[in-house]
């Protein structure tokens, strides 16, 4: 209980909010890193995913490359980035972009590719140009899965951006690192709370975005998990009863 109390005190201390080491400044640093990484990743991954998803044959190689990309450890990338670019913002940015691109690319690619071919055939048959087809049929149908990829990337980048504190960039990771070096675990935990809050805000934002922009016709009206399980075990109609 006293730990929670200390945490409360920490957050209530105006000194912890101001200045170069304050929450506001560290939060802005964190958001700059996350925002730049996400913006760059979107510019790279979305067009690439759409382009390869639309071409019928190519693309599986790209997905395999993206999967290997998922295997590359962020911390090792940051370390390599330091050798190349020195410490600070840039190695962290590169690592965050490498972290964010694979989920966005893979899910965009999959989402575009999995649009029902009959839907596309009938859209073309009704006289849609390729641009109209993409804008009015493929992208709206792919949107929920694409948003999901961006959401996953965003959460991962927000949490992993704390590593930037190890190579001389600020951000919320500083509270964790600085707290550790002074054995001030209240400060460490405060850092965790701030990161978690940011992740939650990101999740909520994407949930809201999905609700606002995804057609209700695409939301899952399928049987619930429970019903599926019941059917699997052969208890037909039990869900209806």
């Amino acid at each position: 209980m006293s730990f929670l109390h200390d945490l409360f005190v920490w957050f209530n201390d105006p000194l912890n909010w101001q200045g170069e080491n304050g929450i506001v400044h560290r939060l802005i640093e964190h958001l700059v890193l996350v925002g730049s990484a996400m913006a760059i990743s979107l510019v790279i991954a979305v067009p690439l995913g759409v382009l390869l998803g639309r071409s019928r044959r190519k693309g599986s190689i790209a997905v395999n490359v993206a999967n290997i990309g998922r295997a590359i450890p962020s911390f090792a990338v940051i370390a390599l980035g330091v050798i190349w670019l020195g410490i600070g913002f840039r190695p962290a940015l590169i690592a965050m972009v490498l972290l964010a691109v694979p989920p966005i690319f893979t899910l965009t690619f999959t989402a575009i590719r999995e649009v029902d071919s009959a839907t596309i055939d009938s859209a073309r048959g009704m006289g849609m140009t390729e641009a109209t087809l993409l804008r009015r049929v493929q992208l709206p149908i792919a949107r929920p899965l694409m948003l999901n990829g961006i959401r996953l990337s965003s959460a991962a980048v927000i949490a992993t951006a704390t590593l930037a504190a190890l190579v001389g960039w600020g951000g919320l990771g500083r509270f964790i690192i600085d707290g550790f070096s002074t054995r001030d675990f209240v400060e460490v935990f405060a850092g965790v709370v701030l990161v978690a809050a940011l992740v939650l805000i990101s999740e909520a934002t994407f949930a809201l975005l999905a609700r606002l922009t995804v057609s209700p016709g695409l939301t899952d009206r399928g049987p619930s998990r429970r019903e599926r399980r019941l059917r699997r075990s052969g208890v037909e109609g039990a869900a209806a009863a």
Binding site: A71, P73, F75, T160, L166, I176, G191, G234
Partner: protein, 231 residues
């Protein structure tokens, strides 16, 4: 160990000093071995725990949501913080590193085991039941093998993630974190050679273990290979 925010980039030095590597082979070997041990123990224990939780979740459906939520929260804590937050309790020890690493594997492994078993086609389960398999035999001889491809793909992600997280445990002390020892040494001294070596070996280890597991899956589930060839 903590770097001030405004240090200049490293002074001119070669990308790699080969003599240093020659002089420190024993250290490098030990770091690599530690990295492997930390990874195997974490994934091994994580897998055992996840299997138990998956069996519980499949047997008692209500438990799925809470288990998923708890492992999800563990997975969501920034890795940097998880290592540090445990130190007041378990100290700057390997135990601290292992607990953190294990807790990262749980969500991935638990979900992939459940998804794999859930994805076994109902008719197969039905016919096994019809042939008189007991529930435990059915689980071991039918459901588990058929779920292997999904489970192994979960193992791949868990393993690769763990390999990537081990170096962060180097925060806990000079002799911790496997190849992370080299990376932190390099960062602290602005010395490229161990930094590069630690990072490259970590990436190489992740890719190697990933490919090993792909190979393992091909050996263990020959039926998926044949299916792919027919398609």
């Amino acid at each position: 160990m903590v770097l001030p925010g405004s240090i200049l980039a490293q002074v001119d030095q070669p990308l790699i000093r080969w003599p240093w590597i020659g002089d420190h082979l024993a250290l490098i070997g030990a770091a690599l071995l530690q990295h492997l041990m930390l990874t195997f123990i974490a994934v091994g224990i994580g897998f055992a725990l996840s299997m138990v939780m998956a069996v519980i979740a499949i047997r008692f459906h209500v438990s799925y949501a809470p288990i998923n939520a708890v492992t999800g929260v563990m997975y969501a804590i920034p890795s940097l913080a998880l290592f540090i937050l445990l130190t007041p309790i378990t100290g700057l020890t390997t135990l601290t590193a292992e607990i953190a690493l294990i807790s990262y594997t749980l969500q991935i492994l638990f979900r992939s085991i459940v998804a794999g078993i859930d994805g076994v086609p109902a008719p197969v389960v039905e016919s096994a039941r019809g042939m008189g398999f007991t529930p435990s035999k059915r689980f071991l001889r039918i459901e588990l093998p058929l779920a292997l491809p999904v489970i192994i793909s979960g193992l791949r992600i868990a393993t690769v993630t763990t390999v990537g997280l081990v170096p962060i445990a180097g925060l806990l002390g000079r002799d911790q974190g496997g190849l992370g020892q080299l990376i932190f040494d390099g960062l602290n001294r602005f010395f490229n050679t161990p930094l590069l070596l630690g990072a490259v070996l970590t990436v190489a280890l992740a890719v190697t273990l990933d490919l090993t597991l792909v190979g393992l899956q091909r050996v263990l589930t020959p039926w998926t290979r044949r299916g792919a060839a027919a398609a």
